[in-house]
């Protein structure tokens, strides 16, 4: 079934009969209004319910577009699923939702049954809901006006049958738009947000903006992830030979081959250490760096994320490290601050 936003709105889960209709039948508008507020109340209740069924909810944000937010969000979900946890992935980017592609769910449509939305099952059993499931055609992004878009987000939050989850990862469009605010205000107990950045100065500048934004959202910042950090190349030469490479920016990189002549060196495509610096500046944790890996681009294209195709590869290992740093932060922030309430 293909759904347009208006169709989704009209597909309200409950039909209500109001008492006393016989003598003083409410006008059509009144009835509509009552029905709407009834639905809103139902949604509020199901959101509260969801707050309990989903243990940890993590928002993935970036200041700038194209830094790899969706790749990272998908990677985090897969990496957590690899550990045997129950994971959901919510893709709220309406203008360029690319999560379905990476999850092998290209062309999937929204599954609505009895007024509830059922997530799709992606790689490793990750439950996925994407704004793309609403689009008639992925290549023509819809321009929804603000209220419709935000209404759809609220519906996405309230009407999805996630079941019990250990983690829900939420991917956003880039920048400091309305979407994170809507989610932060509608979803109770958000564990926190992670900020994805690349090491370039511009991206870092934008990350500063998003950290300031994070503060205004009143959601904890779990930390900063540096994506596309370094690119590691491997080579073969004479055993124990010293290798000299001319890296980006005229920097010389040295490596030494091992006994069998194998060597590797990491090139910093962009400036190194930017993520660490910004997390120091803002006094938030640094969650780790993810390497530049052309396999991510391929994976995005052929529908198999790097973590699935190479679960033991360097990128998957880097993701596992970031995930363990996130878990530490989540545990820290959910441990009660030793407050006695009487």
């Amino acid at each position: 079934m293909t759904l347009s936003p208006s169709r989704l709105m009209a597909d309200s889960p409950v039909k209500v009969n109001f008492p006393g209709q016989a003598d003083s039948a409410p006008s059509v508008e009144d009835q509509k209004r009552m029905e709407q507020s009834y639905n809103q109340m139902k949604r509020k209740m199901s959101i509260a319910q969801m707050g309990k069924a989903i243990k940890h909810k993590i928002m993935v944000l970036s200041g700038k577009g194209g830094v790899g937010k969706s790749t990272v969000a998908t990677g985090l979900a897969l990496s957590l699923a690899q550990e045997g946890l129950k994971v959901g992935l919510l893709d709220i980017d309406i203008t360029g939702p690319n999560v379905p592609k990476m999850m092998g769910l290209d062309g999937h449509r929204l599954d609505v049954m009895d007024g509830r939305i059922h997530p799709a099952k992606g790689h490793l059993g990750v439950k996925v809901i994407s704004m793309a499931f609403l689009l008639e055609d992925e290549d023509t992004p819809v321009i929804w006006r603000g209220p419709i878009k935000l209404g759809a987000i609220q519906q996405f939050i309230g009407d999805v049958e996630w079941g019990n989850l250990d983690y829900l990862i939420i991917d956003f469009p880039p920048g400091t738009s309305d979407e994170p605010l809507t989610v932060a205000q509608s979803l109770p107990d958000i564990s926190g947000m992670v900020i994805v950045t690349t090491p370039q100065d511009v991206a870092l500048l934008d990350s500063r903006k998003s950290l300031t934004f994070a503060k205004s959202l009143k959601v904890d910042v779990l930390g900063v992830i540096e994506n596309m950090s370094g690119y590691t190349i491997h080579g073969k030469s004479m055993p124990n030979e010293d290798i000299e490479l001319f890296g980006p920016g005229g920097k010389t990189i040295n490596a030494t081959a091992d006994d069998s002549g194998l060597w590797s060196a990491t090139l910093d495509i962009f400036k190194a250490g930017g993520g660490k610096k910004i997390s120091d500046d803002f006094n938030v944790p640094f969650l780790g760096a993810l390497p530049f890996d052309p396999g991510f681009v391929r994976g995005g294209d052929d529908g198999v994320h790097r973590i699935v195709s190479e679960p033991e590869g360097a990128s998957a290992l880097a993701f596992a490290d970031v995930v363990s740093a996130i878990k530490d932060q989540v545990e820290k922030s959910s441990s009660s601050p030793g407050l006695e309430i009487i």
């Binding site: 400091t176 309305d178 605010l181 205000q185 109770p188 107990d189 564990s191 926190g192 934004f213 205004s216 959202l217 009143k218 904890d220 820290k332 922030s333 959910s334 441990s335 009660s336 601050p337 030793g338 407050l339 006695e340 309430i341 009487i342």
Partner: protein
């Protein structure tokens, strides 16, 4: 800022104990009036609407709220009647206890992030 160690709910106010030895007593009406949610906040921007908000709150039936911790940084207060949406950062509670303007004199502008 000191850490909140104990919160005692009384009939019309609550007592907050902080780990530096400070104690605050905050009336529930003050807590409610300082609700940081997007619907209550703008009402405090103008004296007139702020007073109306205050008036509405004072006319609500007396009740003890359910208090929940939000992460390690805030509390929420759930009331049977009236607004329960606000997430109160500990800083906010401290300011209220110290009788400082919890909004820091800033007006609330929706969407100005």
């Amino acid at each position: 800022m000191p850490q909140l160690t104990r919160l005692e709910r009384r009939d019309t106010d609550m007592v907050l104990d902080w780990d530096d030895g400070t104690n605050h007593t905050i009336p529930y009406d003050d807590i409610r009036h300082a609700c940081p949610c997007a619907s209550c906040s703008p009402q405090r921007n103008e004296d007139e609407t702020s007073m109306m908000l205050r008036h509405t709150i004072e006319n609500l039936p007396r009740e003890k709220p359910t208090v929940r911790t939000i992460g390690n940084y805030a509390l929420s207060f759930e009331w049977v009647q009236g607004c329960s949406s606000g997430i109160y950062r500990f800083e906010r509670l401290w300011k209220l206890g110290e009788k400082q303007d919890p909004d820091g004199g800033k007006t609330y502008v929706h969407g100005a992030w």
